[in-house]
Subunit: 242 residues, 2 copies
DNA sequence: CGACTAATTGATCCAGTTCAATTCATGTGG
DNA sequence: CCACATGAATTGAACTGGATCAATTAGTCG
């Protein structure tokens, strides 16, 4: 995996549980007590556009997305918003050691979640060292993703940012055994803009440019087909422009 | 602490060990086996401008800064660089679960570090659940910092970014019992620019504007005195402009 | 169908970049 | 101790990528 693949890859990759297994440490007891807990745990269903939690709420639960997509964002009093990440099935949201949630989590479409009380998790972790390490690894992966995203927003052009974004979604598809060339966008242009530190107009114009350059096809405004993956990758790497 | 204070605050705050104590969980054995290890651990001295480690190096050690300042950055083949964070005495660097370092760590001035082999740390953590949780909390704090930084770079103007940066350094001084109005900058304009996603010229011009507006005084180019903290805070919050 | 929201496209503007000199600071050797 | 070299910082002038403002146009849902 190249430097840039790793970079873009993790920029949308949350701490999916399957990934943990690959980094397993000698387990003290059950290798997946968290899994067990979640499998038998409480289910929560949230309607499209509704919030799962809000920054400042007491951090009562940790959630795992079962179906649907979630937008995680921060917002300023004056309305400026930064989308920190999008979460998809398999991703955890609400992890962290703070007393309160530090992000807002909004369902982009109808979402089904599994929940575990935060207290239960920390009680389990204070008994089972392998769980603590798994949490550490999960956070470490999220940190790597945030740092890559930081690089993207701090240094890349609009076209490069969008190329990274599309490639990250494409690679997620590939990992899940879905078509990496066909990308469904459950989020609006506004969500993408606030994720990439751009405006909706720039997102729209840049998508049009990518289409004109035959890099992608916009079958619907929520459906992107990647035509020229190689060029998209060179764009993301700053080795090409459109 | 206001929303914005929290935001700027953590944007330069690393996982300083003292902070861990405040979030302690019922310890299984010793509350600070890591501390003990580090106190008696190996010391490493690095000259100014030299690298402590490079992205891609095998992640052999975790380090704690004892004295001096460190710049953590990512870089692209074409030279574009993003400074991810600065580390100061008390901060840990090299934490994470990856096999290799994902960042470059460069000494900004002569640096003294305490080192612990990565293997030793993970062995300790797989026995002591409280250590795993502490690592989890440390990463969680770093993640919060990275997410705040993301917001700053994605949404704020040059003056707002610089105000956030100076306030973060000021608050670090305050936490350490030093003068919060007198800020020593061990990093160059170029480091600050690459941290904030701007250019050296913009940093220089914006510092000049802040001086003209009597918000700060530039006693030397490495020495900033905050004259009007309230205005600097309103700038960082986007409630004022210069 | 009609009302509403999301997306696209066009025209203009501007914050921050780029390019180009100076000026300042810090060594360093004669 | 000074003169000169070198890299860092500042300042100026011109440019530009992306923002802003302003219409359309395309979906979507009662």
């Amino acid at each position: 995996m190249t430097y840039l693949e790793a970079m873009s890859d993790s920029s949308l990759a949350h701490s999916a549980l399957p990934a943990w297994a690959e980094h397993g440490v000698p387990a003290s007891s059950s290798p997946s007590s968290l899994d067990q807990h979640l499998s038998s745990g409480a289910v929560r269903v949230v309607k499209a556009r509704e919030h799962i939690f809000t920054a400042g709420d007491a951090r009562t639960h940790v959630h795992r997305v079962e179906s649907g997509a979630v937008c995680l964002y921060k917002i300023m009093p004056d309305g400026r918003r930064q989308v920190i990440d999008f979460a998809f099935p398999g991703d955890f949201i609400g992890l962290g050691c703070e007393q309160e949630y530090t992000l807002n989590a909004q369902a982009l479409e109808p979402v089904r979640l599994k929940c575990i009380p935060a207290g239960t998790l920390s009680r389990m972790a204070s008994r089972d060292p392998s769980l603590g390490l798994k949490l550490y690894e999960a956070m470490s992966r999220e940190l790597a993703a945030a740092q890559d995203h930081l690089f993207t927003i701090g240094q890349r052009s609009a076209a490069e940012r969008l190329a990274c974004f599309l490639l990250a979604l494409s690679r997620r598809n590939a990992r899940q055994g879905r078509n990496p060339a066909l990308i469904v966008l459950p989020m609006t242009r506004s969500d993408i803009a606030d994720f990439l530190g751009l405006t909706i107009e720039t997102i729209s114009r840049t998508l049009t440019k990518l289409r004109s350059a035959k890099v992608i096809d916009l079958e619907q405004c929520t459906l992107v087909r990647i035509i020229n993956t190689a060029l998209l990758e060179r764009l993301a790497a700053g080795e090409a422009s459109i």
